[in-house]
Amino acid sequence: MSDFMQRGLDKAHGVTEVEHAVVEGIDISGYWSRMLDQRMTTEFPTEGLDWITSLDGGESLRNCYQCAKCVPVCPIQQVGDYGPWKMFRKAQRGSNFLDDPDLWLCTTCANCLRVCPKEVNMVEIMPAVREQAVLEGAMPDELGEVFANLQKRGNPQGESPRKRAAWAKEAGTEVPIISELGRPVDVLLYVSDYTSYHPRGHDAARAMARVLNTLGVDWAILGREEKSDGDSARLAGEKGLFEMLAEQNIATFSKYEFDKLVVMDPHAYNAFKNFYPALGGEYNVMHYTQFLAPLIDRMEFKASVERRVTFHDPCYLGRHNGEFDAPRKLLEAIPGIELIEMPHYRANGYCCGGGGGGMWLDSLMDEHVSERLSERRVREAVDTGAATLAVCCPYEPSRFEDAVKSTGNEGALDVLDIIELLDRAMHPEA
């Protein structure tokens, strides 16, 4: 038997498409699948579906009536074989997902839930099953390292907690630390992991400090006391770790008096707004775009930022929490900016691939997709003719800048946080 034929037999679930294939002298070119598959019979054991739906959060998988509306809008489906309906189908055929790499591909972007007539909620199902995988130690290695970092150091990168506010030194403006102020503040700014530790995040953090000070906001940060919000760890299956971080953060927040908790990271926004209250932490939480949009009248723009800009809706600000307008209001307020939308925008925004643990699963993802989600998104941005891809989630600059390089668009598109664009218009000298 030829290697080619053997491969076909080995690939029991595969569908093989070849333009030209000659097997032992016979031309069998064309589209074919079962020729090389052994006829496999199907059982419908119910244990897989019964088990998944018995998990806290897994219940709604049973609701699927197989319309498959979820598949065309799934961002992974655009670049691979994964689709939410296909997961139901696998469960119906007995899988419990634990040995399936597909368990880790979902970015919990919630676009499937947006269109699902039966409200099958992969944003709850995936973390519920992942939690069981994590308990069994059956998780990708790269994820294990991140969980260890979060456990030991309170941030996914494994950086020193003492360096969490190191960016402040070069902000060129005062960055108040709440423990040093010794008084209540109006705004406690939660800086977040990637803003605190990534070089491009530093740029956004410093821009934020300058803008807040110019607007005369009474604000402060936690400094080295700040820890990861834990939301992506929760969605990647580490609920216990999430609860530990949440308890630590809630204890820290409770030491200080502040009116608003303004966050740079939509994932933190989601955690604080929707999941911390059940753990005893209720705050007046705002994403920074929501805090700043009503202050546009107070902004004095000293420079025009002449460029066409397109905006990437963060899944956890837009679809998950319904905020589509605040970032756009800010962009449209900046003199010189022409905002153009990508084909996938607002509620149908295309995921960058970073959510739900995707930020830490690049190796696994690369094995299962034809291109990264961030690369596909960057191509879409370039196609609009925009010079700048504006973002307001700290996961984005590094993801999209890598994608700009890997798609050969260096020089054609830059990636800037909205706060950086505001800062440039308000402080051209900085």
């Binding site: 199907t42 049973r62 609701n63 009536y65 197989q66 119906q92 055929r93």
Partner: protein, 351 residues
């Protein structure tokens, strides 16, 4: 001239038509070939009605009460219509009882409510083995067991581990001559699947289908709860072969969402048989020279806006005599037919 309305058939449609006509003040003659009122739901021993699980006999008892002991309603049980002549306003009809005794009645208008019969799966040759394997049953057989609050393998009386319903048996099939959808089988199968799961929590229940046709409220009254609350497994794929293997039934089909074959062992297989016109529907249509459609159901030329008038003036139809209907359709048609029939005899009387 006669001011009476003749209702032929004492099932849900006939009972409602007779009651409605009487409520409108007309004299009613109700003819039923069986010795009991209630029609197929009674005869076939329906347990619980779709979609609300109301015990069938309770519902039928209410309908019977609508016609019994009323001076306006004369009931002929165990009787069939054997001859008819005349025209709208003045039909002469011959009834015959089981003893062969004939009675002549006069009626101004006629409502045919002679219903349907279940598809006989024996007409499917070498497909489902209904007459070969005792554990292959129909919705009707399942309903009889469920009415006794049990569900077992007929072959040995044991509790089944796995039960499959196969949809569209005898419906939507040009080869069989039944191109139509029988409309209620998806709902009834789902209802029975719920009942089996309630009765036997350890039994796996599957429904194999081409399309689930759960129109209107049945969607979330039956289909969604069956799936979401009672863990009934819906598999899109149809079955075309059942053979015996190791004392169980090996069901072969194609899983159409995966494009793959399936072979599954089952203990009981329930065939979701559809509707065909009853013998009575065919005979009565001929007696009144009422044209039938190619399937033998009463033809209703004014559909969709007139769902009850036949091609013969003065002869109306209600219920499954006119094609596959659910109970709501049947009693709704009955009310409309009664209104038209009573209006006709009043007009004739006034003229």
């Amino acid at each position: 001239m006669s001011d009476a309305v003749l209702v032929i058939g004492g099932g849900p449609a006939g009972l409602e038509a007779a009651k409605s006509a009487a409520d409108l003040g007309a004299r009613v003659i109700l003819v039923e070939k069986r010795e009991h009122l209630g029609g197929t739901p009674d005869e076939a021993g329906y347990a619980a009605l779709t979609p609300n699980f109301e015990p069938a006999q309770e519902a039928l008892e209410r309908m019977r009460a609508g016609v019994l002991d009323r001076p306006e309603v004369t009931i002929h049980l165990g009787s069939r219509v054997v001859d008819a002549s005349g025209e709208a306003g003045a039909f002469s009809v011959t009834l015959e009882n089981g003893a062969g005794e004939r009675t002549e009645v006069e009626a101004g208008a006629v409502i045919i409510a002679t219903g349907f019969q279940h598809f006989d799966p024996g007409r499917e040759t070498q497909m489902y083995g209904y007459y070969e394997f005792p554990d292959v049953i129909t919705l009707v057989d399942a309903e009889r067991m469920l009415s006794q609050h049990k569900f077992v393998r007929p072959s040995n009386g044991e509790v089944p581990r796995s039960v499959a319903f196969i949809q569209c048996v005898g419906s939507r099939d040009r080869r069989l001559g039944n191109e139509y959808c029988s409309k209620v089988c998806c709902g009834i199968s789902s209802k029975q699947a719920i009942e089996v799961r309630k009765l036997l929590p350890d039994t796996r229940v599957y429904i194999f289908y081409i399309d689930m046709r759960m129109y209107g409220f049945w969607e979330n009254q039956i289909y969604w709860p069956a799936q979401e609350e009672y863990n009934v497994n819906y598999v899109r794929g149809i079955v075309t072969e059942i053979v015996q293997k190791d004392g169980r039934l090996l069901m072969k089909g194609e899983d159409t969402t995966m494009g793959r074959p399936m072979e599954v062992l089952m203990d009981v297989i329930v065939l979701a048989v559809g509707m065909e016109p009853s013998q009575g529907t065919k005979e009565v249509s001929r007696t009144f020279n009422v044209p039938q459609d190619k399937y033998g159901f009463v033809h209703v030329p004014g559909e969709p806006m007139d769902a009850v008038s036949t091609e013969v003036p003065g002869v109306f139809v209600a219920g499954a005599a006119a094609g596959p209907k659910d109970l709501e359709d049947s009693v709704s048609m009955a009310g409309a037919a009664a209104a038209k029939a009573v209006a006709l005899v009043r007009r004739q009387g006034a003229a």
